[in-house]
């Protein structure tokens, strides 16, 4: 077993060696600019980009022309939301999104609010899913865009995207989804789900960092966007800038591998995830799963280990790379807003650990991680005044704490 063990595959994934092999020639001998129209260097690059465009489109049920390359999902989210807001400003000024979205969506919406747009942030239910009736009720004549992530990056819950797509389409509103966590892991189809815009990135599916895409629907309806960068008019005028050819080649290859391997791989990942979950639940008391277990990515597990603070738990399992919703592990010193949105209480957010299992993890690693977590949680509970109080029968919710 190679140490340390990487179980943080929602943050990023290691690149698949097959992806790297596909990319390498495009750094050196095939270095052309895909926009060079009159020599072989340009043609080679363009051909490689078009092949990748097709590989990506195939994975999501789109056509090649609907794929716009970007630098990553943050840019894709910005382009989709700001691009639609500006293009359709005459139609309306209202956008609907969800409280548990990634910051690249939430902060883009906040930016638009400063420019006079109105944004509704839908709450989620305790299982992390959007309430469809609440969504229906939020759509007005002024609504131009609904943006709901496909799967959440912290708790892995998969939103009812097909139902949302149907509701949004019936109201003649555009539907954007940030699908970075779902793509390549579960079947996604833009036709079935009535998706108009979709953000993608390569580095969450064993491709390189620094390359992403935005799916922009061309038929029923034909979606238009205001470009957010001025320049050479690449990518149907929606995103200027010389294409990152090696990155795009890698992105395409990564999508192709995911499409081929998803049926078996998703079953394998789910088995590993359930093995980890079952071991932890069997060995420890007062462990809570955050978010729906029914509508969830196969490789995600997010658990709160009550009376143990997340950062101290990470410190104890220092040969395992995972992440926590604890305030101490965040740059803002605030506990995870996603977990807070579930309404479970800040104390459980502080005690949460996110496990993201990936293509290269083994059963041996999962067993090792489960044992380490059990060992460290037990040790830290021996140290925890809260655990001691609960064992003495004290109701923590009735204690007068000195909030600081």
């Amino acid at each position: 077993m190679k140490m340390p063990i990487y179980l943080d595959n929602h943050a990023t994934t290691p690149m698949d060696p097959r992806v790297l092999d596909a990319m390498l020639p495009y750094f050196t001998e095939k270095f052309g600019n895909a926009a060079s129209r009159n020599h072989v260097f340009g043609w080679q690059a363009e051909e490689a980009v078009e092949k990748a465009r097709k590989q990506i489109a195939d994975l999501i049920g789109a056509t090649s022309k609907e794929i716009i390359f970007t630098s990553g999902a943050t840019e894709s989210n910005n382009l989709a939301i700001k691009g639609v807001a500006e293009m359709y400003a005459e139609k309306g000024n209202h956008i609907i999104t969800v409280a548990t979205e990634h910051k690249a969506v939430l902060d883009t919406c906040k930016h638009l609010e400063k420019n006079g747009y109105r944004v509704t942030y839908l709450p989620v239910r305790q299982d992390g899913l959007v309430d469809l009736d609440m969504l229906r009720g939020a759509i007005t004549d002024k609504t131009i865009l609904v943006s709901v992530m496909y799967a959440n990056n912290e708790i892995g819950v998969v939103q009812p995207i097909a139902e949302i797509g149907k509701i949004v389409k019936e109201r003649g509103v555009l539907f954007h989804t940030d699908a970075v966590q779902a793509i390549g892991k579960i079947p996604v189809n833009v036709i079935r789900d009535n998706i108009d815009l979709m953000s993608l990135t390569a580095h969450k599916l064993y491709g390189p960092k620094g390359v992403g895409a935005l799916y922009v629907r061309r038929k029923n309806p034909r979606v238009q966007l205001t470009a957010q960068m001025d320049g050479g008019g690449h990518e149907r005028g929606m995103r200027s800038g010389t294409l990152n050819v090696p990155g795009i080649v890698g992105f395409g290859k990564a999508c192709e591998i995911c499409q081929q391997e998803m049926p078996e791989e998703s079953v394998r990942l789910k088995a590993l995830r359930d093995r980890l979950k079952d071991k932890l639940l069997a060995e420890l008391d007062e462990v809570y799963i955050n978010g729906s277990m029914e509508s969830r990515l196969p490789h995600n597990l997010n658990m709160s280990f009550a009376y143990v603070e997340g950062e101290s738990l990470l410190m104890g399992i220092n040969d395992v790379a995972v992440s926590s919703g604890s305030a101490c592990t965040s740059a803002t010193l605030e506990p995870s807003y996603v977990l807070k949105a579930l309404g479970a209480g800040d104390d459980l957010a502080h005690s949460s650990i996110r496990f993201g299992i990936g293509r290269f993890n083994t059963e041996e690693e999962i067993d090792y991680v489960a044992n380490r977590v059990v060992e460290v949680v037990r040790k830290l509970r021996e140290l925890s005044p809260l655990y001691e109080m609960v064992k003495e029968g004290v109701d923590l919710s009735k204690v007068q704490w000195t909030t600081h």
Partner: protein, 137 residues
């Protein structure tokens, strides 16, 4: 974030973990912080009634590694001091000893607060004890 060797040492080998009898009149108990803030420290000290010296100290902490290390260190600092000397312990001494980075200074502040709370509890118990005893002429 990288932890200092001293934080790691206290985290891996916490000193004086445990609880003292909170009903003992010579024991002072301080509990500070809140679960929703991500840290709660319980710090206890036991004063020898003959010498007035803190002869034992125990802690339990729910919190990050730096919070655990701060309270572990605090129990070490308390032992052998008089109550008045213990009141002089400043959070900056903990920051220095553990090389805490700026974002972890609040852990040391919490440890100082826990010491003060434990001493206040001890003094309250002692004055209640004296009030209930017959005054000797």
């Amino acid at each position: 974030m990288a932890y200092s060797d001293k934080v790691l040492d206290h985290y891996n080998n916490p000193r004086n973990v445990g609880s003292l009898d909170k009903n003992d009149p010579n024991v002072g108990t301080g509990m500070v912080g809140a679960p929703e803030c991500g840290d709660v420290m319980k710090l206890q000290l036991k004063v020898n009634p003959e010498t007035g010296i803190i002869e034992d100290a125990k802690f339990k902490t729910f919190g990050c590694g730096s919070a655990i290390a701060s309270s572990s260190l605090a129990t070490e600092m308390l032992k052998g001091k008089t109550v008045e000397q213990a009141l002089e312990i400043k959070n900056t001494a903990i920051v220095q000893e553990l090389s805490l980075p700026p974002v972890k200074i609040h852990c040391s502040v919490l440890a100082e607060d826990a010491i003060k709370a434990a001493i206040a509890d001890y003094k309250k118990k002692q004055s209640a004890l004296q009030a209930s005893q017959p005054v000797s002429k």
